[in-house]
Amino acid sequence: MNKTLWSFWGLFAAVGSVWAAEPAQLALELDAEGQHEAAAVEFRRLALAEPAGPNAAGWWWLAGQEYAQAEKWERSGRLLDRAEDAAPGALAAPTAWRRAENALQEKDWTSATFHFDSLRLKVASDDLREFAARGSAAANLRAGDAAGARQALADAPGDLAAARAAIDGYASRRDKKPWVGGLLGLVPGLGYVYSGEYANAARSLILNGLFMWGMAETADDDLWGAFAVLTFAEFTWYSGSIYGGIDAAHRHNVRRLDGAVAEIRGERRLQPDFSAVPIVALKFEF
């Protein structure tokens, strides 16, 4: 279900947008094929062909969006800068939204919070303010600030009970300590058990047990060549158990945080609407 929520018609001349959509055909087709970097280059070409102004800003923004789709966050940011330079203030909200999402992907939680908060101040629609508040809360929680996450949702519109419960649920439990996982990993498989990875623990225990048994047998039979090979292999499994104990704790913490963040953000996602390019419009997708 798609629902166009707001458009930035801004200062655009309607006539300009009619002819502008046609040259974007190639870029739009490349986008539809998932060739986002190639689409970005086409949007950049269109931006360079325009004098500075809202149309150029729209093309730059779209190029930035394509680079974000291609997971080239830094390039996306540079082109958003150019969009802002081409028509200062014309695309304030979509730029804030794109920058916030880019910052989340780049794990720059402070910037993500800033841009989501800035988006919340720039829009009038309740749906968008709720979306921005959820984004800000997610960024705060990722930064380890549960109080900040609650604060971000405090005066936001919409039904945020599930998001608040997710924050409370996350804050009420503790992260696993990686050093404890590593220490327990000295006993093969126990590090995995600490983080709830029982199948991995069983495999680690069986492999370590088998190779240790092999080492003992070969030493008993004075087969020192075979003993050396098995010792090397056992060293691999044993060090893997220690490392795995540490990494399993990190994995557990990441899964827990990802689950809480998914609850906070909800199911609605913003996407650009390409039906009137270079006019930048965003719509919600569920």
Binding site: V41, L48, W109, T236, Y243
Partner: protein, 263 residues
């Protein structure tokens, strides 16, 4: 240096120069070729140069790119600065490939250019080249004297950029490379592709060894232990060109905590 010169040369080249500056070699090459076909004179020369250098950086069709650069360097009717840049890029590539034309190309760029950044870089590169080639140093005594009189003017960044680097792998990554090379040559062909994860286990080990040396061994052991769980979770599937489904499990998901204290 190249993109700044290109952008200054023409607004038609702005997009190609921007793409080049961003390291998007494939896109910069296509854009350079597009402008080269549409333009004439110095703009076409500069566009051809951008396309050839992008192809060189891209690593595909290296021989053709070198041929284009050499042709531009030797084309007397072409724009002089484009020729100097072509000579410089050709000289560096020829040096890296162990060719014999590097000193002539670098000297051409050093002597003929009027652009200060290129003058510095061509001179500094030639200085290092002569430093490692004793016989040539004696033959080009006058050039060497000239380089020595200029070298105080070269900024630190130019020294750093032009200094030859050893490109070999770190010593601690070597055992991992040997194990993977042995596996790929002797075992892999016999048992076929068995890994359901992406990257494959041998590639994962290679990447882990490259990044962490001997710590790649426990990282790999942990992956062997986890593999069945990752496959049964069916998270992050990717369809391979042969239609097979594999599940993404990059090294970066398991070593990020060694690099930073972020979640």
């Amino acid at each position: 240096m190249l993109m700044a010169a290109s952008a200054a040369a023409s607004s038609e080249l702005e997009l190609a120069a921007d793409l080049f500056a961003e390291g998007q070699w494939a896109a910069a090459r296509v854009e350079g070729l597009r402008v080269q076909k549409a333009a004439a004179g110095p703009v076409a020369d500069r566009a051809g140069l951008l396309a050839a250098v992008s192809a060189l950086r891209l690593g595909t069709d290296r021989a053709a790119a070198l041929q284009d650069l050499e042709a531009l360097w030797r084309a007397e009717s072409a724009d002089l600065e484009s020729r100097c840049l072509a000579a410089y890029e050709f000289g560096l590539a020829d040096w890296a490939a162990g060719g014999a034309q590097a000193p002539a190309a670098l000297e051409f760029a050093y002597v003929r250019t009027r652009e200060t950044p290129l003058f510095w870089r061509a001179g500094c590169s030639l200085y290092f080249y002569l430093k490692t080639h004793k016989k040539l140093r004696r033959e080009k005594a006058a050039t060497r004297q000239s380089l020595q009189s200029c070298r105080d003017a070269w900024p630190l960044e130019v020294w750093r950029e032009c200094r030859p680097r050893s490109s070999g792998p770190a010593l601690t990554a070597l055992p991992g490379r040997w194990i993977v090379a042995f596996y790929r040559a002797q075992i892999g062909p016999a048992i076929g592709s068995r890994c359901d994860l992406l990257p494959s286990c041998s590639e994962y080990f290679m990447q882990a060894s490259r990044a962490h040396g001997l710590l790649g061994v426990p990282i790999m052991a942990d992956r062997f232990v986890r593999e069945p769980s990752v496959v049964s979770a069916r998270a992050n599937p990717a369809t391979m060109p042969d239609g097979r489904i594999r599940y993404a499990d990059p090294v970066s998901d398991h070593d990020y905590w060694m690099k930073e204290d972020s979640r």
